[in-house]
């Protein structure tokens, strides 16, 4: 049994109900999992001896703007043992959007989740340090949301006074 089939079989048997979709496009394996199960799922794929996805390379999000479940959180994880990349997606249902933080599984997720929070306004529950990263503290908007104007909202970012 090749690696890809092993991965799919293992995930299916463990997370049958929570697994929403499995796609394999141009050798790129993606799985969509329901957001309630994300932490459990990540723990499993990291600690399972056959899979061992030890590295979290990226956490980001997609704003679908018009769709009902507007936000999708995307994780890119990597297995050194198998030299294999896996993409995990979770479609968020809540408003305001929230999902469990995966920092207990991968420490590297800390900054990625902060960045995603900063730019999309997605709350990562139980994140140890959910603060603004690029934008100043106290900024009210989320710049990578589709309804944010490219030139920003006038007056939302204060400039120093020009007094001479």
């Amino acid at each position: 049994m090749d690696l890809k089939t092993t991965i799919i079989e293992k995930i299916k048997s463990k997370f049958g109900d929570a697994l929403e979709e499995v796609t394999d496009f141009r050798e790129d394996l993606s799985v969509t999992i329901s957001p309630e199960k994300i932490l459990e799922f990540c723990k499993f794929i990291k600690n399972d001896n056959d899979l061992s996805f030890e590295m979290c390379k990226d956490v980001t999000a997609i704003d679908w703007a018009t769709r009902k479940n507007r936000f999708t959180v995307v994780y890119h994880v990597y297995s050194f043992k198998n030299n294999f990349n896996l993409r995990i997606k979770a479609n968020l249902k809540d408003d305001p959007p929230a999902i469990d933080s995966v920092t207990p599984v991968w420490k590297s997720a800390n900054w990625y989740e902060r960045e995603t929070y900063d730019m999309y306004g997605i709350n990562f529950i139980n994140h140890p340090d959910l603060r603004r990263m690029y934008m100043p503290e106290g900024f009210e908007y989320y710049p990578l949301r589709k309804d944010f104007p490219v030139m920003g909202i006038p007056g939302s970012l204060p400039l120093p006074e020009k007094n001479d």
Binding site: M135, P136, V150, L157, P160, E161
Partner: protein, 172 residues
């Protein structure tokens, strides 16, 4: 022979105070290198032996605002960075001048977006804008010469009421 012969015998000359102060100021401009991105590399090049900013008496890059009278803002100024640039400018003693070096600093450049200030003239009084992305070192030297000409026309009394910046130590 002319002025030189006169000086060697008497050892003094007469001039206007404004003229000699402006002359001294214009030939000892000390820049505060506010290098933020790629323009900063061109600014550094201006100090190397090939372009030799020392010819203009401006080789003393101080990296502290206290002793500077020219701020070269070289790079992309974001809204977050604007607070820092303004604070450093405020800490420079009068009289002081500002060069906006490059497209980003002058107008936001290619960054027409929410996070980049579309021109530092929104929070700083700019004396010379330098075109280019980034400008060549010669272009920066040209800006420096323009500033020198401006200084040469200045009067000492224009600055006599200006006060030294106060330390904001109690705030931090």
């Amino acid at each position: 022979m002319g002025l030189e012969a006169k000086l060697s015998s008497d050892g003094y000359l007469t001039t206007k105070l404004d003229a000699i102060i402006a002359w001294a100021r214009s030939n000892s401009v000390w820049p505060m290198p506010m290098g933020i991105s790629c323009c900063a590399i061109e600014m550094i090049s201006a100090a190397d032996p090939k372009y030799d900013i020392a010819r203009f008496g401006s080789e003393v890059m101080r990296f502290t605002p206290r002793q500077c009278d020219l701020m070269i803002v070289a790079g992309t100024v974001t809204y977050k960075m604007a607070q820092v640039v303004r604070r450093i400018y405020d800490q420079m003693p009068e009289p002081k001048w500002v060069i906006a070096m490059g497209a980003c600093t002058s107008s936001g450049g290619m960054y027409r977006s929410y996070n980049v200030v579309q021109g530092i003239d929104q929070f700083l009084p700019v004396d010379v804008y330098t075109a280019g992305c980034p400008p060549r070192p010669e272009n920066l030297l040209n800006a420096l010469i323009t500033i020198q000409n401006k200084i040469k026309k200045s009067k000492a009394r224009d600055y006599q009421d200006k006060i030294l910046p106060e330390l904001e130590l109690s705030k931090n």
